[in-house]
Amino acid sequence: MNIKWQSLLALSLLSFSSLLLADNNDTQKNNKEILTLENCHLKGIKSQVQCGTLQVPENYSLPDGETITVNFAVLPAIDSSQNKTPLMFLAGGPGQASVELAAHIFSTFAEIKKSHDIILVDQRGTGKSHPLACDENEVSNAYEIIPEDFSPQEIKDCIAQFTGDLSQYNSENAIRDFDAVRVALGHDKINIYGGSYGTRAALVYMRLFPNALKSVVLDSVGPIEVPIGTFGQSSARSFNLLLDNCQQDESCNTAYPSLKDDFKAVITRLEQAPVNIKIAHPRLGTKTDFVLSRSKFISNLRMQLYSMQTRPLVPLVIHQAFLGNYQPMVGLIAMSEGGMGMYVGLTLNVVCNEDFPKITTEMFAGDADNTFGGNDSHSAWLQACPLWPKYAVSEDFYQSVTANIPTLILSGNLDPVTPPSNGDESAKTLPNNHHIVSKNSAHIVASTPCGIEIVNEFIETLDPKNLDESCLAELKSETFMTHLNGNL
């Protein structure tokens, strides 16, 4: 039984985008030599790209000890004649596998890929780099389970499945792998783009190997100074901005004049007892139970706050739930039923050791004091982390990063997990940076063509302070869905 992983997942994190699922299908080969690189096909990409593997020590202080295989891919530049410095993409989570995001990056980073190779490395513990995944052969019923039923035994069962020395699956070693791939591919310097947790990885990269980096893009920042795990205040802020936007939009305000009260009423109702109804299974069409608890409601709503594509649905989902129609919520859960390609083992291994110990009881209490989910985002950590095997993190890890590398910091004002204040935190200590806040973006600014345009201009000019940001002003706020049959 692995059922609770799914719901635990819904409670997490800094994922790159909540709408992605991918699974690559290239061939795994035996590794006699250190580096392999060959043409291959990745799911969702029509043209051939290059796939490779690199053997690295599991523990860098024991170079002759156990080795693990790091999987990576290179999306070749369309026009390679100018020999421009490649861009390495650092994925979010922690726990997302970069190579599995290849199709998404192939299309959204098209402008950059015109003249720059894009390097994707599966962080150790994800994808095909010694994945820390739990047995997921049985698909659970996402409609019946609720996060409140989570049992510690499942965490213990999962930990028991892992092989290798868990203490080596940390952020610093991940960066050592990334840099080993850079060296193996023969690049003196690279540009890096980190999104979400990828920004944390990028900051660690800046501290460990500043000379290997030509430029850095931090999109939706998870600074060293702000521990990952307390999303109560930030998601409440994001939710309130959504309520404001709805109120200011005439059609939304007409359709949902008392949205805030509707939300409170639903929460009060679910706090008393979870809703338990029979529904047609969204995918199978058979009768099934649907249980909706407070935590399930909140965590699924929070997931919609990440993206400008799903935010427009939130008022309708709340209002319909208020009216006793839970089908819109069922539809949302169906959308993410297949999981989000998150390697939860790595997620917990990193967060429980590198961030969770830094969150004090006062910080948890302060974060829980909000009008959206209260302490809801904490429960996953509070339950799983005490059970998770520990490793020691050096004090250096928590030092603010001061590397003098051209750095572009991007934040979306509507972001529920990495608010603009996070970006300010990193901007304080980096000597050559510029922080751009996009008013009508949520998590990941570079998910829009405009955001990519700015990133592209930056890695061309390396001058973060003189970029053309004008297109961000043209981004529109949410066009809310005001009726079950669509907008007018």
């Binding site: 029509k46 043209s47 995918r283 089908q327």
Partner: protein, 387 residues
């Protein structure tokens, strides 16, 4: 050897004397790169850019969100058309009718009939029509997906089969568009550039009675033919080299990455192309000399030989049309070269066996033509144009 050298110098002098004819000979090499650049630019613009489209909307007020969606995709109301484009859009006259019960039917979840009226056969309208259809389809689909989602249906059900396309072309392949044009132009260049010189040095010299003088000299006819062929071929080779060099330069001015493509020829590819094309240049001039010596007059030579240049234009097209090519097509002159060039452009490794055999057959045919011609020139029939 001295005799051959003297003959060749004589031929080259004659060729270079007429500057205008020389310009015509080299024009192919100069014009093809410009043509390639202009055509590619226009095609890219058509594929990638979304120039504004002006549509006559009726009932726009009934579906403001749809009109907004159109506007985002640069499909605008006819009232906004700038003065200088007004005539063109009036001619195209693309109309979209939105019914006044649009809102009512939308909320009721009933199908809404929006009318698109235009002359579907008109070429200038085809791209605008395609774009209007695309926007309506996308808009409609997005609403459909959301309707199902809020009814608790898994929207992935709408995609039972997802076709994953895997293109086996190498990532380093050159833009098909550019390489196709360049391939044809190179073949044409090999055939056309030496043409006027070949005719002039054969049928032309005969009319000017130079040929008679030449044949009276104590030199073998073989040397005469070789000198004439070398001269005309040299001009075609020059033209091809110019074409290759200028194309690699001119393609730099086109942003092919917009269509996900690129074009670059490295020294190796250029060498391989020349290796392929130089024998073909000789073959072409040998063929032209042969036919223009056959002709009774300069004028007749011109028309006969002009027919020959249809070959390089037709053969590649014919090959493109045949999907299952018999193997011997690889070995024939023109078709063999044409197919090998395609491989070079795609960045595939050159099939040296095929290259060697095509070249060998081309050279053999050239030698046969030269020998036959040398033999013919021994008879006074040729001089008297009595063939």
């Amino acid at each position: 050897m001295i005799q051959f050298k003297a003959l060749l110098i004589k031929e080259l002098r004659e060729a270079f004397r007429d500057k205008r004819a020389l310009m015509v000979a080299l024009s192919m090499g100069l014009l093809a790169p410009i043509m390639i650049m202009v055509i590619s630019k226009t095609m890219i613009k058509e594929i990638v850019d979304n120039p504004p489209i002006y549509v006559q909307f009726t009932g726009a007020e009934f579906a403001p969100k749809l009109i907004e969606k159109f506007a985002v995709n640069n499909i605008l109301q006819f009232a906004n058309v700038p003065e200088d484009e007004k005539y063109a859009w009036q001619e195209r006259n693309i109309e979209v009718d939105i019914p006044k019960d649009f809102a009512e039917k939308m909320l009721a979840g009933k199908a809404i009939d929006v009318v698109l009226r235009a002359d579907f056969g008109k070429k200038a309208s085809s791209s605008p029509i395609r774009r209007v259809k695309e926007v309506v389809r996308e808009y409609s689909l997005a609403i459909g997906y959301k309707r199902l989602l809020v009814r608790g249906v898994d929207i992935n059900l709408l995609q039972p089969i997802v076709l994953q396309e895997q293109d086996t072309a190498l990532p380093t392949s050159n833009a098909v568009m550019v390489s196709m044009f360049l391939g044809i132009y190179l073949l044409m260049g090999a055939f056309v550039s030496g043409l006027s010189i070949a005719i002039d040095s054969s049928a032309g010299e005969r009319e000017r009675n130079v040929l008679e003088m030449l044949l009276c000299q104590p030199v073998s006819t073989l040397k005469i033919v070789l000198a004439k062929m070398t001269c005309a071929s040299a001009i075609s080779v020059l033209s091809i080299v110019i074409m290759l060099v200028l194309t690699t330069v001119s393609v730099g001015f086109i942003d092919l990455t917009k269509i996900g493509a690129t074009f670059s020829l490295n020294a190796f590819s250029i060498a391989a192309l020349l290796l392929l094309l130089i024998p073909l240049c000789f073959f072409a001039t040998a063929l032209q000399l042969f036919f223009s010596f056959q002709a009774k007059s300069f004028k007749e030579a011109q028309s006969t030989v002009s027919m020959l240049i249809m070959l390089p234009a037709m053969v590649p097209f014919a090959i493109m049309m045949i999907d299952d090519k018999p193997e011997w097509v690889n070995w024939l002159p023109i078709s063999g070269q044409s197919m090998l060039m395609e491989d070079v452009f795609k960045g595939l490794p050159v099939d040296w066996a095929v290259l060697a055999s095509t070249t060998a057959i081309t050279v053999a045919m050239t030698v046969a033509l030269v020998l036959a011609l040398a033999h013919k020139l021994k008879s006074e029939k040729v001089v008297m144009s009595l063939s």
